[in-house]
């Protein structure tokens, strides 16, 4: 046999062996293929090895190399296929697969965080970024700069916790509006999630510390159209294709002010206990930024206009998750948070 012939033979054996090993559907077929190609006595690889003897001395190294390649390849293929079949078919430990999995604790974000992140995501689509600020604030940032008249009934809704010495705990996230406007030039498009404080007794519907998320957009030529359309888009994204309605409202720091309602998802607008028969659910307060606020932050209110909104993620969370008492959100009961995590207990 000359070298060329030998190599052709080796190639044929390798090719056929590969096919036979790879197509073996179970352990028996694999064993038959092994015996046929890699068997010690009748195996075709053995035959190929024996045929080496008939190769001339000069050609032997090349032929031997080719033989080794073929054998190694088939052997390793056999090994791979064997373990693949073993794993796939192994009847071992199939047992009762209905038994419980070995679990890890599942973590979870707080429901209020989930609501905030969802809101954040929607406003990101519309070009907003996140601004932050301190919770301990000055009277000026919390009230004065936001056009609260001193000793005005508008302050009644902002029953304030004061700090001994200096300052107060912010009653809304709006001070961050002023800080942002002072710090960065328009165009401003930010949302401001954060904790705010009111001197409210901790009961089923009030907490003295709670989350608020606020938005601010200031640029040239910003109008009520932008306010309405942006907030309507938010409502579409957040609540599904529901209708919105804007009503006159009052906040010292916006003018005109508007409250946004979405059509009640429970009754579809026909009136039910959830919406107190009105067909609408109150979602957020908003308005065009009052010129006095812009001027307080050193922004030319003739050149720039803007709009702002604010809402309470905890209120949204309790209605969304059907939580009957807002304190459940803050108790940090592991059993409740595990529900949020979607974990079995």
């Amino acid at each position: 046999m000359d070298l060329q012939e030998y190599i052709a033979q080796a190639e044929a054996i390798e090719h056929e062996g590969t096919a036979a090993l790879q197509s073996a559907a179970d352990a028996d077929a694999l064993e038959a293929a092994r015996v046929a190609f890699l068997g010690d006595r009748q195996g075709r690889v053995k035959g190929l090895q024996e045929a080496l003897r008939g190769i001339s001395k000069d050609d032997k190294p090349a032929a031997g190399k080719r033989f080794n390649e073929a054998r190694t390849r088939l052997e390793s293929l056999h090994g791979d296929r064997k373990s693949a079949l073993q794993h796939a078919m192994s009847p071992v430990d199939r047992g009762d697969l209905s038994l419980a999995a070995r679990r890890q604790w599942r973590g979870a974000k707080h429901p209020v965080t989930l609501v905030i992140e969802e809101i954040e995501g929607i406003f990101r689509e519309l070009g907003f970024t996140v601004a932050q600020g301190p919770e301990a604030e000055t009277e000026w940032y919390n009230f004065g700069a936001l056009n609260f008249p001193p000793n005005h009934p508008a302050l009644d809704a902002h029953d304030t916790l004061y700090l001994e010495g200096e300052g107060l705990l912010r009653t809304h996230t709006s001070p961050v509006q002023v800080r942002t406007l002072q710090k960065y030039e328009p165009p401003i498009r930010v949302i401001i999630p954060g904790t705010v404080y009111r001197r409210d007794f901790f009961d089923a519907s009030h907490a003295p510390a709670f989350a608020q998320i606020e938005g601010l957009c200031v640029d040239e030529n910003i109008s009520f159209v932008d306010l309405k359309s942006t907030l309507n888009r938010f409502a579409e994204r957040f609540f599904g294709a529901s209708r919105t309605r804007f009503r006159p409202s009052f906040f010292p720091f916006t003018e005109p002010s508007a409250e946004m309602d979405v059509q009640c998802g429970v009754c579809g607008g026909s009136g039910c206990p959830t919406c107190k028969g009105t067909g609408w659910i109150e979602i957020l307060g908003s308005g065009m930024v009052h010129p006095n606020v812009l001027e307080a932050a050193g922004i030319d209110s003739e050149r720039y206009t803007g709009w702002a909104f604010g809402m309470g993620p905890a209120r949204i969370a309790v209605s969304r998750y059907g939580i009957p008492d807002i304190r459940i959100l803050y108790d940090s009961d592991v059993r409740f948070l595990d529900q949020v995590a979607g974990a079995d207990r």
Binding site: V130, P134, N151, Y162, L169, K183, Y184, P256, Y330
Partner: protein
């Protein structure tokens, strides 16, 4: 603010139903929170016709009747009223109906005659005091028609949420004015039959005057914006007429007596609080508006004794206070059944002073509510006239002389320029000058047209409108917010990027959630003490301070869980902590903390059932250490983090980033039951929160947004050469720390050392006392070639020699 639909309709002849009115008022003026049908207690009463009537055979005053109540059969009803007449219509309560007084109508025998239902009197239905007989109805409806749909008894109440800027809406007059504007109808004060007493014009004075026999004086200018008074003689205090009782009932106000009811009527109709004093009880026949003296006492109409301060204003007689100005009258000069002559007060007080007094006294009233928000200064004369006429109508008596009008100065009403272009700019679409003018005029603004703009004079009742932007709001709301186009317009991207701490918080939160922890949001108030930030007005004393540490909060939350028999706790929170700083806002820091205790994984049926496993499966300090590293890595990415032994009690490690201690890992002591596992905590700073002033008030200090540098871990080529490893089982004296040993190993091993892993710790049998056995696995790798055994042996000997020389650490022989 309760508004009666019928009362409004007495002002404005609108066509809208109550439900439609609700929508209109909500869309244009103020939210109507509720719409209540009144007299629903009469919903079951129907109108019935008495078909036959005969005297009861066994009674001299009862009648037996047959009644058609629209049921298809005639009902036998016994009736005791003398006036019951065949062929007439009456209100009828069928068997099973509950009357307003709670009486349930039952079918029964009365002296042998069946009675199946009841023909009702006005009194039984709460429709008047008349119980002389059943209530004959002059209506033409089929029997069975509900009473409420046949008679105008079912007034509707609109509960309007009046916001702080619109005190003008705290009256039917104010709401009616808006409704007239929105519906484009005229409006006028409701006509009252028989009203006609002539009130002379008031005489105006600066600080004192005489109203009939009463000397009226303002003690000090500025105490009151306007004080009007009038004496009415010879009134007879008694019940109010039906219409007045019904009007007041429609807004939820109970009838007291005719004079008080007249005052309440004027309050709700015109928004002007008024008060009537019994002249006979005014000492010295004087009315003095003055400051209270500190500590002065008065018993108010609600029967409580109040102690006053010098900032409060009282209405006093010659010697003592007879009322807290603008808040509540005094009991001593209250109008009673024996009152004959009254002094009627119609005043206007400074909002801020009333607010202070109301808050200081903790005393709310309809009057204070309105004064605090601002009452129309010009309504006083009209209110006085209306009230005096009403009193004369319902309580008799005579006007004695002219009213006095003190302290009044007509305020200047500067006109405001409203630019048509500015309306378009703010509302986002042009609104014509004519439309703007018409809208504003519809609610009482005076409009002067100039070339391009409008010159607006604000009516006296709209103290909230002081600038152009307020007028633009008026235009927007009267026009309707629903008319503003809904289109997302192109916008420019903002100059501000995400707050870096927000990004960090998110990363930390994700990593903790990934580690199986649950996020808490708890109240940040603590019992505190010195070195804590104190609240000046806390809700309760044991929550009088702000937390310095989040772990403080989490510890209380863990105890809450333990109290509910939940011993496996794994909580984290991200939030602010506070520390006092003298003369400045507190130092505020954003932090993350985590608390773990109990099992680190849920139980599984395959778990080993051994005490060793039970101990092993609980969170321990090594988990806490890892948690500390995880959090620090998330908070300070690609920065060198190390955990250093802490030297304070309960603390285990300080978390060090660079050279700064940014957090700690520690044991957390809890008020815990015996079965509870030990608790471990991690607390880490995410940076300070800057509460300093950005720029002076009214100024900006704009700066470019500085992006947070992204920290990057550089790529290290992946080795393709094989690793070589060996183990070192070492006898380490108790005085030597593991990290010292590792330091020597690393130094001596040089660059090729890839990994050092402690895989065993043992002490006890076979280990010398004062020592422990620690075993490390060392992995070496050369980037280009396989390491030879010889090289490895050499390294091993070098390491062992250095350990022996430097730390007296030897290889364990057995």
């Amino acid at each position: 603010m309760n508004v009666s639909y019928e009362w409004l309709r007495a002002f404005v002849p609108f066509d809208q139903s109550a439900a439609e009115l609700r929508e209109l008022i909500t869309a244009h003026t103020a939210t109507v929170e509720e719409l209540l049908a009144l007299r629903q207690d009469l919903a079951a009463i129907v109108i019935a016709r008495v078909v036959e009537e005969a005297a009861h055979p066994d009674s001299d005053h009862l009648h037996v009747t047959r009644v058609d109540a629209g049921t298809g059969t005639l009902l036998d009803v016994v009736c005791g009223a003398a006036n019951v007449t065949a062929g007439k219509m009456y209100p009828f309560a069928m068997t099973g109906t509950v009357l307003p007084d709670g009486l349930k109508i039952q079918k029964r025998k009365i002296r042998g005659a069946t009675s199946d239902g009841m023909i009702c009197s006005a009194r039984e239905l709460g429709l008047g005091q008349d119980h002389e007989g059943v209530m004959e109805l002059d209506v033409d409806v089929p029997p069975g028609t509900p009473l409420l749909s046949a008679l105008p008894l079912g007034d509707m109440r609109l509960v309007v949420d009046v916001l702080a800027n619109r005190p003008d809406l705290l009256s039917h007059l104010g709401v009616a004015r808006e409704v007239a504007g929105i519906t484009k109808k005229p409006f006028a004060l409701p006509a009252i039959d028989g009203l006609g007493a002539v009130i002379p014009n008031a005489a105006t004075h600066a600080t004192s005057a005489r109203a009939a026999t009463v000397d009226v004086r303002i003690d000090e200018p500025g105490l009151v914006n306007r004080y009007m008074g009038l004496v009415i003689r010879g009134v007879t205090i008694g019940p109010s007429p039906e219409w007045l009782v019904t009007r007041l009932a429609s807004i939820g106000s109970r009838s007291i007596n005719n004079v008080v009811d007249a005052s309440n009527y004027v309050l709700h109709e015109l928004g002007q609080p008024t008060h009537a004093f019994d002249v006979a009880k005014l000492g010295g026949s004087a009315i003095v508006v003055r400051r209270a003296t500190a500590g002065e006492k008065i018993t108010t109409l609600d029967g409580n004794e109040r102690t006053l301060n010098a900032e409060m204003i009282v209405i006093a007689d010659a010697s003592r206070p007879q009322g807290v100005a603008g808040v509540m009258g005094g009991r001593d000069s209250e109008v009673t059944e024996s009152t004959r002559d009254i002094f009627v007060e119609v005043a206007n007080f400074n909002p801020s002073r009333i607010r202070d007094a109301r808050r200081a006294l903790g005393l709310s009233s309809d009057a204070a509510y309105r004064f605090e928000r601002g009452v129309d200064l010009e309504i006083a004369p009209r209110a006085l006239e209306r009230l005096a006429q009403l009193i004369v109508l319902v309580a008799g008596g005579q006007i004695d002389g002219a009213p006095v009008d003190l302290g009044y100065e007509r305020p200047a009403t500067p006109a405001i320029t409203l630019r048509v272009s500015r309306v378009a700019k703010l509302l986002g679409e042009p609104v014509g000058a004519d439309e703007i003018a018409a809208l504003l005029q519809s609610v009482g603004f005076d409009v002067d047209r100039t070339a391009n703009d409008l010159l607006i004079t604000v009516p006296s009742w709209r103290g909230d409108v002081v600038a152009e932007v307020n007028l633009i709001e008026e235009v927007a709301r009267l026009r309707g917010y629903d008319r503003v186009p809904m289109e997302i317009r192109p916008f420019r991207p903002g100059t501000v990027g995400d707050d870096p701490q927000w990004i960090t918080s998110k990363r930390v939160r994700e990593s903790l959630v990934g580690a199986g922890l649950l996020e808490a949001r708890a109240m940040p108030f603590v019992a505190g003490g010195e070195s804590f930030v104190k609240l000046t007005n806390p809700m309760s004393e044991n929550e009088g301070y702000l937390r310095r540490e989040i772990l403080d909060t989490l510890a209380r939350r863990a105890e809450y869980n333990l109290a509910r028999m939940e011993g496996n706790v794994r909580l984290f929170e991200i939030g602010s902590v506070f520390a006092p700083r003298s003369g400045a806002l507190p130092a505020e820091q954003l932090r993350v903390a985590a608390l773990v205790m109990g099992r680190r994984q849920p139980p599984h049926f395959s778990d080993p059932k051994t005490p060793e496993f039970e101990a092993w499966v609980r969170y321990d300090q090594w988990d806490a250490k890892a948690l500390g590293q995880t959090i620090a890595a998330a908070a300070y990415p690609a920065q060198p983090v190390s955990l250093r032994d802490a030297d304070h009690p309960d603390a285990l490690w300080d978390i060090v980033v660079g050279d700064a201690v940014v957090g700690a890992v520690r044991r957390v002591s809890l008020d815990a039951p015996v079965w509870a596992a030990p608790a471990f905590g991690v607390e880490l700073s995410l940076g300070d929160l800057d509460s300093s002033s950005v720029a002076p008030q009214g100024e900006s200090a704009h700066r470019p947004f500085s992006r947070t540098a992204v920290s990057v871990t550089r790529y290290v080529p992946l080795a393709s050469t094989p690793a070589s490893e060996f183990d070192l089982a070492l006898l380490v004296p108790d005085t030597v720390r593991g990290e010292q040993v590792e330091r020597v190993i690393r130094r001596v091993s040089g660059k090729l050392l890839e990994r050092v892993e402690l895989f065993d710790q043992y002490s006890g049998k076979g280990v010398d006392p004062g020592h422990r056995s620690l075993a490390w696995r060392l992995t070496f790798r050369h980037p280009e070639r396989t390491l030879r055994d010889r090289e490895m042996d050499a390294r091993r000997s070098d390491i062992l020699r250095a350990l022996a020389d430097e730390l007296n650490v030897r290889q364990r022989s057995n």
